[in-house]
Symmetry: C2
Subunit: 442 residues, 2 copies
């Protein structure tokens, strides 16, 4: 490497063993703009990271690589709206719908196939109670009524004229990861077990503005939110949350919201459980107390060991997951790997993520991808040298309130196993000597 | 509004006339978390913002709105990969391709239809020189060779094992906005004039790691980057930039890069002009000096008034655009509107955006949507009370280096009108008394 460029950027020394089981210093591979120090690595010092493909017989005989066939013919034309490569047609939402009621069920975001923090709109998870309605935006109305000085009805075009706000945030179903309550660990790809959570940039109109315009009455402490689907999904949410940072979302990742995510509009309450982000929102009724709708009583409440139920458990607590390596992947040989995953908290920013490669005996802090935003996916990464022996990988999120993601036995002791919702325990992956990755309770 | 909730969040007083022509204080509608002060507005004080739809005769007779037909039948089923609403099928990339060489041309991001900062993958602009190749990722290779101690060839699966980094950043064609050099103002939707720029979260492997592994020689100051399309697009870029923050991108907005954006991998050099982000990247050759390829000589150089040419003008300078209101939109009546748009700079963060509603006679500072990131779209917003008189709207970006987006006459005086590339002058929209918005040179 040239002296000039070496001065501009040097890679840090590998700090051996940030924790047991081969975890290395999180700063090992960090890019510029982050604190780095120490002497530059000599060429080849990192070569242990990947097997020496440069000596791969197929490739070595073609240096430069032989001209591939797709360079020998004109390429394909422009398109008005692009789609993924046909070679990626296995990267899909996995559908788990009720065979007797096809519109009732879920589809999962394939977290194991994704990287970064944004979920592309086509892969945002779905939870429908009676399918998704195909709404003509010219005929849709949003009403704000109940305990207000002036009931208001908005057309979509009216809301589009209002001032907007954008927010990158996660959206998680209260029932996500609930196979974690099972007595034995479910063996599934991580997205098809924990993928009822996605992350988008949502843009819309602050409820503070709309509620100010309607003039809500002093006694109005709750809002009934109703969707325009055939199930008329309805929940009551606190006015205080709506005023704090709630908004009516019209755009998702830049474009208008997709039909299965609430087109033409949905309620957005950052950090709250998914059911409260009512899709196809058609009315908000200001009321004095919760309405005890079906969707907040028969569902989305949690049976506790003493027979009582937790209810209105809106905030999604801190959680993290290792997305790679994860079940269904295989480590081809001992050597250097990057452990990466996602962390989030409905209470604010992720403060840190700790990773263990020895089943929780020791922990090392992972690097967090900037920017770290409140109620948003935060990507974490840490290098790991696998020695080929059995290993148990875990991650543990701590948020800015000091809340620590609990161990599974702690969560189960507190809430029993019949709660169904709000499972956020530490997740553990076992790695076999053959490099197979599976889900374990550790 | 209840006393309790009013304490939790109050809206700021409207500061009249932050600048001439009806521009109001940028904090007027800002959400929580931002500095707000003053007494709360009484209900109805904001009602001037939008026409009183609550009294709309169609809606007033249906309060709550009559049950729409889509609530009376089961909804549509889940999907493996979602698509936009059929009602949004006009939101497309506009294609301008060479009729004789259909793979040569561009397609434009419809900036006028979008909000927020992320561009959905299906709408990311395209610039192809000979169409896009359909690459089998199992057969694709990336070679690093030339002035290196050890040539390397990578399969896609090898790169996927490397440590990754994510970066939210814009990507802009050097030829974007070049109709601005025309003697008369082009009348077109803003995206179909300025939309060869998009913004994504890109994820991939830092070049600092790969070049360290290859061990580049002291004399290697440039990298030839070649794409695997039929045009074999090739440019040389500085090693210093590659080491600073360049990376091989494999993911775009969470999923693997789309074919038209370089599947299975492209070069990413944040803030540099689009041509350098070589798509379908198949080799990087370390060299001592620029290779003077066709794509950096016959194209992507700029003829100056004195007959010489600017070359290797990599950095995209600060720029901004008002996306709403913008040409093709109509203001239905005098009243309150939000002026919003996008600003970006290849040199770092946007420091501020100033907006004028009186053709540049006076300017007011717009609110910037957080987070403000380097070399990334930054959404700006400011409220505006239109009095129904003719108005000229402009925006002006200033970046953290102090660079100020130039007026058109200043830019033309400096660079002439034959440069074709790197047009970043202030853009002006004229509003007629009828509320029509058009492009003007002001």
């Amino acid at each position: 490497m040239g002296g000039r460029t070496r001065q501009q950027r040097t890679l840090p020394v590998i700090a051996e063993q940030a924790a047991g089981g081969g975890l290395l210093d999180r700063r090992m591979f960090l890019g510029s703009g982050l604190e780095i120090g120490g002497a530059a690595l000599g060429a080849g010092a990192l070569a242990a990271f990947v097997r020496p493909v440069w000596a791969d017989s197929e490739a070595a005989g073609a240096m430069p690589p032989a001209t591939p066939p797709w360079m020998l013919e004109p390429g394909k034309p422009f398109s008005n709206y692009g789609q993924p490569s046909s070679f990626e047609n296995g990267v899909i939402r996995w559908i788990s719908a009720n065979p007797d009621v096809p519109g009732n069920g879920i589809s999962w975001t394939p977290l194991h196939d994704l990287d970064g923090t944004i979920t592309p709109n086509g892969l945002h998870f779905e939870r429908h109670h009676n399918g998704w309605p195909e709404i003509d935006p010219a005929k849709h109305r949003l009403m704000i009524h109940g305990l207000v000085k002036r009931p208001l009805v908005f057309r979509v075009e009216d809301l589009l004229r209002y001032p907007m706000t954008s927010r990158l945030c996660f959206l998680e179903c209260g029932g996500n990861s609930n196979a974690g309550w099972n007595p034995r660990p479910l063996q599934a790809r991580v997205g098809y077990f924990h993928g009822l959570v996605s992350c988008s940039e949502w843009t819309g109109v602050a409820l503070a503005i709309l509620l100010d315009e309607a003039g809500i009455e002093p006694g109005a402490r709750w809002l009934l939110a109703e969707g325009a689907d055939a199930a008329a999904v309805s929940v009551t949410v606190p006015v205080s949350k709506a005023l704090e940072d709630g908004f009516i979302a019209l755009y998702q990742n830049g474009e208008r919201i997709r039909p299965e995510n609430g087109y033409p509009m949905r309620l957005l309450l950052p950090g709250f459980e998914g059911i409260t982000h009512v899709k196809w929102l058609r009315r908000l009724k200001a009321v004095a107390a919760p309405m005890m709708t079906r969707d907040e009583t028969a569902k989305y409440t949690e049976l506790l060991p003493d027979g009582t139920a937790r209810q209105f458990t809106f905030v999604m607590e801190a959680k993290s997951l290792i997305t790679s390596p994860s079940p269904g992947m295989q480590l081809r040989e001992a050597g250097l790997y990057e452990i990466t995953g996602l962390a989030w908290s409905g209470r604010g920013r992720v403060a840190r993520v700790e990773v263990s490669a020895d089943g929780g005996a020791s922990w090392a802090e992972a690097a967090l991808q900037e920017p770290v935003l409140p109620a948003c996916f935060t990507r974490f990464r840490i290098p790991w040298r696998w020695d080929g022996a059995p290993a148990v990988l875990m991650s543990r999120a701590v948020d800015e309130t000091g809340y620590v993601q609990p161990a599974r036995d702690v969560l189960v002791a507190k809430r029993g196993t019949q709660g169904y919702f709000h499972y956020n325990a530490i997740v553990s992956w076992g790695v076999s000597p053959e490099g197979d990755v599976g889900h374990v309770y550790a």
